[in-house]
């Protein structure tokens, strides 16, 4: 038992050390001023020729090509973001017929001559569209029970499994 405790202690220390080493590279940890993760940076395009096109809501060819080459969906149009100057949102066509025909997908920022392309994390989408799409005001609830409803079914099953396991192992004189 004592050996086990010692091993556990060493493991915990090792894990802490690892975490300290790694933490710098986690976006939120690395930069104290950064907001919670909202988008994932995909790539930076050098020499963005089509910035003027972005102003006109058209996706420049090289950008579109680069995205498709990397396996992402082809953007249909771009729109000025609500934020500061030099930021656009890229839209993609939705295959789901229920809602609006397009949805916000990419986030494109200008940095000097370069274009930084990111993609919104799914939390952003939940926050922005959740109420509209599910008519439930509680984000935790619609995240849990709708967007990731299947996970929750799994979790409920875990609880059920635990209960039946206890019955299997402990209960005597039962019909089960």
């Amino acid at each position: 038992m004592r050996g086990l405790r010692l091993i556990t202690l060493i493991l915990i220390i090792l894990l802490c050390g690892l975490f300290a080493y790694v933490a710098e590279d986690i976006p939120v940890f690395g930069d104290p001023d950064a907001p919670a993760i909202k988008s994932v940076e995909l790539f930076t395009m050098k020499g963005a020729e089509g910035v003027s096109l972005l102003n006109r809501q058209i996706v420049p060819g090289p950008l579109s090509g680069e995205l498709v080459r990397r396996g992402f969906p082809r953007p249909s149009r771009v729109e000025k973001a609500a934020g500061r100057e030099g930021e656009w949102n890229g839209f993609i066509k939705k295959e789901e017929p229920r809602y609006a025909a397009e949805e916000k997908y990419y986030r494109i920022e200008r940095e000097g001559d370069d274009l930084r392309v990111s993609r919104y994390a799914f939390v952003v989408r939940w926050m922005e569209k959740g109420l509209e799409e599910t008519a439930v005001p509680n984000m935790v609830t619609y995240g849990l029970a709708d967007y990731r409803g299947y996970d929750t079914l799994g979790e409920t099953t875990v609880i059920f499994t635990a209960g039946v396991s206890v019955i299997l192992l402990l209960r005597r004189r039962s019909r089960l």
Binding site: R98, E132, E133, T134, A135, V136, P137, N138, V140, T141, Y142, L144, A145, D146, G149, Y150, T152, L153, E155, T156, T157, I159, F160, A162, G163, V166, I167, L170, R171, R172, S174, R175, L176
Partner: protein, 156 residues
């Protein structure tokens, strides 16, 4: 048996008698309210089960079993999951295969797609609540029973 009766505590019994209905009512509130505010099936289910647990602590195991028999426990723990999984299947059935599993919008509770989603979620939360309640109670009953048997064994 006498000893056990001697352990009975009037204060705890009375408080429990008063509290349990309120605890369970609150649990129902937590489950139902899940859509609009803090709460949900897991939390509500646990709170509901805590009512039974309080009952057993205050009174005794046999009484608790009488109030919440094994058969009801068994059926309820499955019914919760039935509701959850069934709602998912209903989405496929009502849309004749067009919609995916758990796509609540296609279950025609109302004529409005988003309302359907919200209602679907409510049912799902209820399912979770029932299962969690029944399972927590079941585990507690099993553990308590084991404990009691061990005590008997030590006495005898």
């Amino acid at each position: 048996m006498k000893e056990e009766q001697g352990e009975r505590d009037v204060i705890i019994e009375t408080v429990a008698r008063v509290m349990i209905p309120f605890i369970q009512l609150f649990a129902l509130y937590v489950i139902i309210h899940g859509a609009g505010g803090p709460g949900g099936g897991f939390q509500g289910g646990v709170v509901f089960a805590s009512g039974f647990i309080l009952y057993i602590i205050a009174f005794n195991l046999a009484g608790g079993r009488k109030r919440f028999p094994e058969s009801a426990n068994t059926i309820l723990s499955s019914v919760g999951l039935y509701i959850y999984a069934g709602i998912g299947l209903l989405a496929i059935l009502f849309s004749f295969g067009a919609a995916q599993y758990l796509n609540y919008g296609f279950i025609p509770f109302t004529s409005h797609f988003e309302e359907n989603r919200a209602l679907g979620m409510d049912f799902v939360e209820m399912g979770i609540g029932i299962t969690v309640m029944a399972i927590i109670a079941s585990i507690f009953f099993d553990l308590a029973e084991k404990d009691e048997k061990q005590k008997e064994g030590e006495d005898g």
